[in-house]
């Protein structure tokens, strides 16, 4: 007889999550992940000045607002028929890149590390106590170094926010990203301030963050075997490196693409994305493209268990995020892990490696800024019907915004976000979401202290503020976009 374990709330993530698993013979045999907050931000956008999207969509998530500011303005650029000048493109990349560093450092040290590092052994007080009782495996000197890194990382992530604010105005909720580019101009002082902080951050990422992830992997080697999940990897591509091309076809730091579990590859085709709601608290069970707005909320719906919808690619469950990006770009250090890359610690390792790649890339980009040159392309809000798509890579994975404008106002807004891919409930075929699939097979030693479950969940760096924000007032499809 399987034993049911519920963890509600799952803490040290962004947003509201409940997990429910069935354990038999010491292993998870079935899992359900439930997003438990619904706000309806896309409905709130309806009928507004379309430029409000940049600000409203950031409020999806205060940890990674820059991803939404980026996707939101790319969709506006697309709809308005404008593109940022070189400085605008670079500064947007610096803003998003700075947020990668803050988000990845925050995630590993402050959200995830306490599942491996015994902070209470060093500081025996709230918020480190109480905690689940389980065996910590790091030797005391390594543990001490990791706790010190936890403290140091508090400063590092703050400085990453400061780097972002140099270009973005403030953080959280960046003010300077606007349609056509940015509002902030480069000058020598800003570049110097940015570079001095970046130097310190690169040192931390390369000489502390990555080594500590490696140390955790050394003493918890089994976590390179657990939590494989669906192994279908999806990336839209992020950080455009070229001007004069649309953001989807421009060459990027992280290329877009798909690698399936069997190793086969494919080019991403937005038309193959569908969203399903059979197990979600929404009325109308129709499979919709992300470009179609679907459903209204039904918190009492029988059989449903999450506010997340279930996006699928060509009917398949997909994982997005740093691991997907590193697999798609065939990053050598991650590739060297082989099958072990598809694991709890594989995800942490990919995130750390990616953090280093972005930090070093920014060091180069900031020198390409042209002082005195324009940062923004002027625009008018069009009165005729327009639609735009913005695809980017947020810190947590592939992010797409779709925006339809009529009579100068927002008619439909739809965001398909990383955590909706990763933490989706089952789909119409009954296939589990990526995180649910990763939970299956996870050993649980002590059902009263199920640290193993939260280790799997946190490896995805889930963000439930992002994942649940969807709805439209009409039960029927109200618009369809042309994309691709």
């Amino acid at each position: 007889m399987p034993q049911k374990i519920v963890v509600d709330p799952v803490t040290r993530i962004e947003g509201h999550l409940k997990i429910e698993v069935e354990v038999e013979g010491g292993k998870v045999v079935d899992a359900r992940t439930s997003g438990t907050l619904f706000r309806g931000l896309e409905l709130i956008m309806r009928g507004r000045d379309p430029r409000d999207a940049q600000q409203f969509m950031q409020r999806i998530c205060g940890v990674c607002p820059t991803g939404h500011a980026t996707a939101g303005t790319l969709a506006l650029d697309d709809a308005f028929g404008i593109a940022p000048p070189k400085n605008g493109r670079i500064i947007r990349n610096l803003i998003l890149g700075s947020n990668y560093i803050q988000s990845h450092v925050l995630h590993f040290f402050h959200l995830a590390a306490l599942d491996y590092v015994n902070a209470a052994a060093v500081v025996n007080a709230p918020p480190f106590t109480p905690q689940y009782q389980f065996e910590f495996k790091l030797p005391s000197d390594v543990n001490k170094a990791a706790v010190e890194a936890y403290i140091q990382a508090l400063v590092i992530r703050r400085k990453a926010q400061e780097m972002l604010a140099i270009w973005g105005g403030k953080m959280p909720h960046v003010q300077a990203i606007v349609p056509g580019g940015v509002t902030e101009h480069p000058d020598a002082q800003k570049i110097a301030e940015f570079k001095s902080r970046l130097k310190e951050l690169i040192d931390f990422v390369d000489n502390t963050y990555i080594p500590i992830v490696e140390a955790v992997a050394k003493y918890y080697p089994e976590w390179l075997e657990i939590g494989a999940g669906c192994k279908n990897m999806l990336a839209y591509g992020g950080f455009p490196l070229e001007d004069g091309k649309d953001h989807i076809s421009a060459k990027k730091l992280f290329p877009g693409g798909i690698v399936f579990a069997d190793g086969s590859k494919a080019v991403f085709d937005p038309n193959l994305v569908s969203e399903q709601v059979k197990y979600s608290w929404y009325k109308d069970e129709i499979a919709g493209k992300p470009t179609e707005a679907v459903v209204e909320p039904d918190p009492q719906k029988a059989g449903a268990y999450s506010w997340l919808k279930a996006p699928r690619y060509d009917g398949k469950v997909m994982e997005v995020g740093p691991l997907a990006r590193m697999i798609v770009m065939e990053e050598p250090r991650v590739k060297a892990l082989g099958a072990k890359a598809y694991s709890v610690l594989g995800r942490h390792y990919a995130r750390a490696i990616e953090c280093s790649i972005v930090a070093h890339a920014m060091d180069e980009w900031v020198t390409q800024l042209e002082i005195g040159q324009p940062v923004c392309t002027p625009h008018e809000v069009p009165s005729e019907t327009r639609q735009g798509v913005g695809l980017c890579e947020a810190a947590r994975g592939a992010l797409g915004h779709w925006h339809r404008i009529e009579n100068g106002l927002t008619r439909v807004y739809n965001a398909v976000v990383p955590t909706t891919w990763n933490a989706s409930p089952r789909d119409e075929k009954g296939q589990r979401g990526a995180m649910e699939e990763a939970l299956v097979g996870t050993p649980v030693k002590d059902p009263k202290n199920p640290v193993e479950l939260v280790r799997v969940v946190r490896s995805f760096d889930p963000c439930f503020g992002c994942a649940i924000h969807l709805m439209t007032p009409d039960k029927k499809t109200i618009a369809e976009f042309q994309i691709g």
Binding site: V6, D8, P9, V10, T11, R12, I13, G15, H16, T36, F38, R39, G40, L41, I44, M45, R46, D49, R51, D52, Q55, R59, C61, G62, V63, H110, A125, P126, P127, P130, Q131, Y132, I151, L154, V155, R158, K159, Q161, E162, A165, I166, G168, G169, K170, P172, A176, V178, G181, V182, T183, E184, E193, P297, P299, V375, C376, P378, H379, V454, G465
Partner: protein, 353 residues
């Protein structure tokens, strides 16, 4: 409680001058003392219809550092993003037992609006022993009524904010609508970390509530308006307006809410003093006001400045710009905006603690 720092000194240190960026750094030693003596009241921090941005902003505090805040300044028993525990362990030990043991003594921080639609089911935060969900609405009511005071961190819990905008699909309300208790609003989307830490420091240090304005905001942070000290003020006075983003000029035509937005970002600056909204060329979005989110990038024809009183920016400009005030509305606006009308500042009348 230690009493080395008088309230008058506290207010002087928190005044929004450029030198006061590190204002809360002065307070840490006094609060540390109380924490070390085991006298500091516990703090419980809960999140509802929020984006976690307020918590992230708190993490950006410079003086004191977040390490000092978390480990030496406040006794933080429950915080969804920071605490080691999860699930029942977190709820029971971190919240329910603490709220019972320290009834009437602990402070509750609420981040996020309260969705009241569908009987609160739009936001659930845990489950009861029988497996039924605990709604955020019921949690705020229960814990909020037991607290000594409730600190609403952010515009969502203070006024409703973005989730309550437009058609308000989940019927979000501010905390003050469902809890009857002493309350402080610390708005901002998100609030500056100094506003959060400074207010927490005040209540922990003096075990009382700082002076508040009509919207429940501490006057020490929200007493002035952006327009008064705007670095682009000269453009406004000279009638030079930016028409496109990134242009020089006053940002009014691009939707700037500086003339009615109350906060001290002009002098406090953000993120360790690196920058802030208007310095980066971005219009103020008025995120500390009850009317937020407005229409962000459009010039508003009229601004609300009090109950049933609205005015235009031109009228504010006439008064603040030193030109002749015409009409009673303009006169009123000028006086309210510059603080000549309204409750007297307490500094003169309040004695040292």
């Amino acid at each position: 409680m230690p009493t080395k720092l008088s309230r008058r000194e506290f207010l002087r240190l928190t005044a929004g001058s450029a030198a006061a960026i590190s204002m809360s750094g002065f307070l840490a030693p006094f609060i540390k003392e109380a924490v070390a003596a085991g006298e500091a009241p516990p703090v419980i921090w809960i999140q509802g219809a929020s984006c976690t941005g307020c918590s992230i902003s708190l993490l950006n505090t410079v003086h004191p550092s977040i390490k000092e805040v978390l480990l030496e300044t406040i006794s933080l028993r429950y915080h969804p993003n920071v605490m080691a525990a999860a699930g029942d362990l977190a709820l029971e030990e971190g919240m329910f037992k603490v709220a019972e043991k320290y009834k009437g003594q602990f402070f509750l921080v609420v981040e996020g609006a309260v969705p009241t639609g569908a009987n609160g089911l739009f936001c659930t935060v845990g489950e009861k022993k029988d497996g039924t969900p605990i709604t955020f609405e019921s949690l705020v009511k229960e814990i909020g009524s037991k607290a000594k005071a409730v600190l609403n961190v952010g515009t969502c819990s203070s006024f409703g904010g973005i989730p309550a905008a437009g058609d308000n699909p989940t019927d979000c309300v501010p905390v003050s609508r469902i809890v009857d208790n002493t309350m402080i609003n610390i708005p901002g989307c998100p609030p500056h970390p100094d506003w959060i830490v400074g207010t927490l420091a005040y209540v922990l240090l003096y075990n009382s509530i700082p002076e508040l304005d009509t919207h429940g905001r501490p006057k020490m942070f929200f007493g002035g308006i952006i327009h008064d000290n705007c670095p682009r003020r000269q453009y406004f006075d000279n009638g030079i307006y930016a028409r496109n983003f990134s242009d020089p000029g006053c940002l009014l035509e691009l939707g700037c809410k500086g003339p009615i937005a109350h906060c001290d970002s002009t002098t406090r600056l953000w993120n360790g003093g690196t920058n802030w909204c208007i310095k980066a060329g971005a219009p103020c979005i008025g995120c500390t006001e009850p009317e937020f989110p407005w229409v962000i990038y459009r010039r508003l024809p009229e601004f609300p400045i009090g109950p049933r009183i609205t005015t235009t920016v031109d009228e504010i400009g006439l008064v603040l710009g030193g030109l002749t005030a015409v009409g009673i509305a303009g006169h009123l606006v000028g006086n309210i905006a510059t603080g000549r009308i309204g409750p007297k500042k307490d500094e003169e009348k309040e004695g040292d603690n």
